[in-house]
Amino acid sequence: MDRLLQEPPPLPALYAKALIRPAQTALRLRKPSTALPDVRHRVENVTATPEKVAAFQGLMGRFQSQFLPSGYVHTLAFPVAVSVLARRDFPLPLLGMIHLRNEVRHLHPIAIDERLSVTARVEKLLPHRSGTMADVVVDVEAASQLVWSGRSTYLAKGVQAAAPGTDSSDPAVTDRTAEDVPDYPTRVWTLDGGIGRSYAAVSGDYNPIHLSVASSRMLGMKRPIAHGMYLASRMVAEIGPDESSPFQWTIDFRAPVTLPSRVLLSAQVERSSTSDWLGAEVTAWDPKRRRTHFSGRLERLHRQAGAE
């Protein structure tokens, strides 16, 4: 079933709706479901605001370019994705869900003024050792051509909404012991306590777990944590190719980055003999606890023969 929305729904309203949902459940006003809604939400004529893109690029430390940063496309499509997650028939609670993984294929450069169609759906409701996970798949098209496709995996902790089956979760997600981290960093990110608010301002994602100590406590966290997409976007901006070449990237989130924080990164960049960017393996970790925050992989995509 496809549902065409007139415009991207406002995130604050979706979050507000999500905030009262647990109460509704507790009052038995709505029944928790155990299946994913078979629906695609679609919004057409989505365009970026150049000033907002510039602010996003500025926060990522990139020069302005004529193309959208890969992380920003996620931001642009995010309200549509959230509108699916905020549906009454979506079985997991929107707020407090943990971002586990992102997988993006950035197939074509997207000009900043391009008119885009965004389609979002949910897939793969699976049990996880500490709850239930689900994927949100977002496809972005320009002139009916798929230009960007992203799959985000989220975990709802303590929620048993999936039919019992194989637990495909990675046990390291909740492992609290020191891990093997790379011997040497190649860079460090010094993230201040306000980075969640700064990213919220350029992305529109004002999820309370990222904003302040007070707001994150409302959702049971001692300290605010960095947006997963801030970490991913910065990884792509700093270590990826420029936006004019097609590439794909994945990021697996492990221990969240509490704010403020000093994150060490090891980025092993592969280049051709002529210094062309081919790809990179990235690990980010907490030097004190020696725990991995995330690992990433970026890879150049070669344009298919015949295309264009």
Partner: protein
């Protein structure tokens, strides 16, 4: 290469096939103010004041009052935007003639050496008869910038015409924007400080804590001995009541150095070995060198300490972690030696800037490492060993301190004098710099 004859014409150097050989550029002498730790005796001295003091000391030493010098080149690494013309302003405030032209150079810690190389080349080409090269840095009087947010609001405000536009500009201001940005020694592309970068290189090359402390001890002892025998009497002019480098610890010992806690590399899996004792502190100071043609020196009855022979710069890819931040001089040296048909055995003195004791030790280890020299430097085998008795014989940055842009001129003046004292031989200079850069140079006794 033969030492240059003392005729006033420039003479071809034997191993070069280039038809028209340039004439010699000579180091006439140097002057610096004693260096002081950041926040110490020079806490309230500006770059311009210190550079002017160094220039005036040089003027007094060589009788240059009211004289027009061909060109003065200097720079500072930590520089206020108001000091856009720092060197020219210092010249105007000095006893040099006001019609002495000047320009600023910035190549991080290689600034001072690069000014020497640049002006020497102009002298060799006949564009200049005389030049003053140098540098200055103040980590105490460092510029503090407003935040990016406040800067933007202020710039928008200055462009706003109506009250409404002005209010709109101010609306963009957030409380956090009012916090200033203090300068850091972090590499912009990696966020890692220079010490953190070097700690990685130190661990990769397995440089021991003991070896670093020994090198630091030698630096302090050599420099203290050089002061005691009056070596610096005609190289240093007292400033603000300081007459010796304030960082110098003549009485330090391996026990004292060994008692210090590591400050860099504490988050690595390898043992942390770099301490405040085997790393240079943030330092304030200024140094300059007087250069000239042989004609200029003779006509003005000035000494000729050494010739500036040649120099080579290199850079490494440290951003991807492929090479250490401060390893560029390791790559520059074989190129310089090859062009001049020389080997490490051709040098009587080695001045390897001690940014950290381990910077020197990793450089030495790399040149001795056959595998590294083959794969990274493209050499048939190891470049060779540096005779440690010829290394930093009058102390270096661990003892003197390291005001970034001033270090090159300090080293050139000290090495030129060392060569003049010996009366023969060659000296090699190696300076690493931020941004994965480095410059090496050859001086030759006359």
């Amino acid at each position: 290469m033969n030492s240059l004859p003392t005729q006033q014409d420039s003479t071809p150097e034997s191993d070069r096939s280039v038809p028209a050989q340039p004439r010699a550029a000579v180091v006439i002498g140097g002057n610096r103010i004693p260096f002081a730790r950041s926040g110490g005796q020079y806490a309230y001295a500006s770059n311009q004041e210190m550079l002017t003091a160094a220039l005036d000391g040089l003027v007094a030493r060589f009788g240059l009052q009211g004289e027009r010098i061909g060109e003065v080149a200097a720079g500072a690494v930590l520089k206020h935007s108001r000091d856009f013309n720092l060197t020219r302003e210092a010249v105007l405030g000095s006893a040099l003639a006001a019609n002495t032209p000047a320009y600023d150079v910035q190549q991080a810690c290689a600034t001072g050496l690069e000014t020497v190389v640049g002006l020497s080349n102009k002298i060799k080409l006949g564009q200049l008869e005389s030049g003053i090269a140098g540098g200055v840095d103040s980590a105490s009087d460092a510029p503090v910038a407003v935040s990016e947010g406040l800067r933007r609001v202020l710039l928008d405000l200055s462009r706003a015409k109506s009250t409404i536009q002005k209010l709109a500009a101010l609306r963009g201001l957030r409380p956090a924007d009012l916090l200033p940005n203090a300068p850091t020694t972090s590499e912009p592309r990696t966020g890692l400080s220079m010490g953190e970068h070097q700690a990685i290189t130190t661990a990769r090359w397995n440089i021991s804590r003991e070896a670093q402390d020994e090198l630091s001890l030698a630096s302090h002892r050599n420099m203290a001995a050089a002061y005691d025998r009056g070596f610096f009497d005609d190289l240093v002019t007292p400033f603000r009541g300081v007459s010796r480098d304030a960082n110098l610890r003549a009485d330090t010992s391996l026990e004292k150095l060994g008692s210090l806690k590591p400050v860099f590399g504490r988050t690595l899996s390898a043992d942390a070995t770099m301490t405040a004792g085997n790393s240079t502190p943030l330092t304030d100071g200024a140094a300059v060198v007087l250069l000239g043609s042989e004609d200029y020196a003779r006509q003005n009855n000035l000494p000729m300490l050494a010739n500036v022979v040649d120099a080579e710069a290199a850079a490494v890819d440290f951003v991807d972690g492929k090479e250490g931040l401060l390893m560029a001089p390791v790559y520059a040296l074989p190129r310089l030696l090859q062009r001049n048909n020389m080997s490490l055995a051709d040098f009587d003195f080695f001045e390897i800037h001690e940014a950290f004791a381990s910077t020197v030790l990793t450089s030495l280890a790399a040149w001795e490492d056959e595998d590294f020299c083959r794969t990274q430097l493209g050499l048939p085998g190891a470049l060779g060993s540096v005779d440690r008795t010829k290394l930093n014989v009058n102390g270096s940055s661990l003892a003197a301190g390291h005001p970034f842009a001033a270090t090159g001129a300090r080293i050139v003046a000290s090495l030129a004098k060392t060569l003049a004292e010996k009366g023969s031989g060659r000296g090699l200079i190696s300076v690493c710099a931020a941004g994965g850069q480095g410059v090496v140079a050859i001086l030759e006794a006359r």
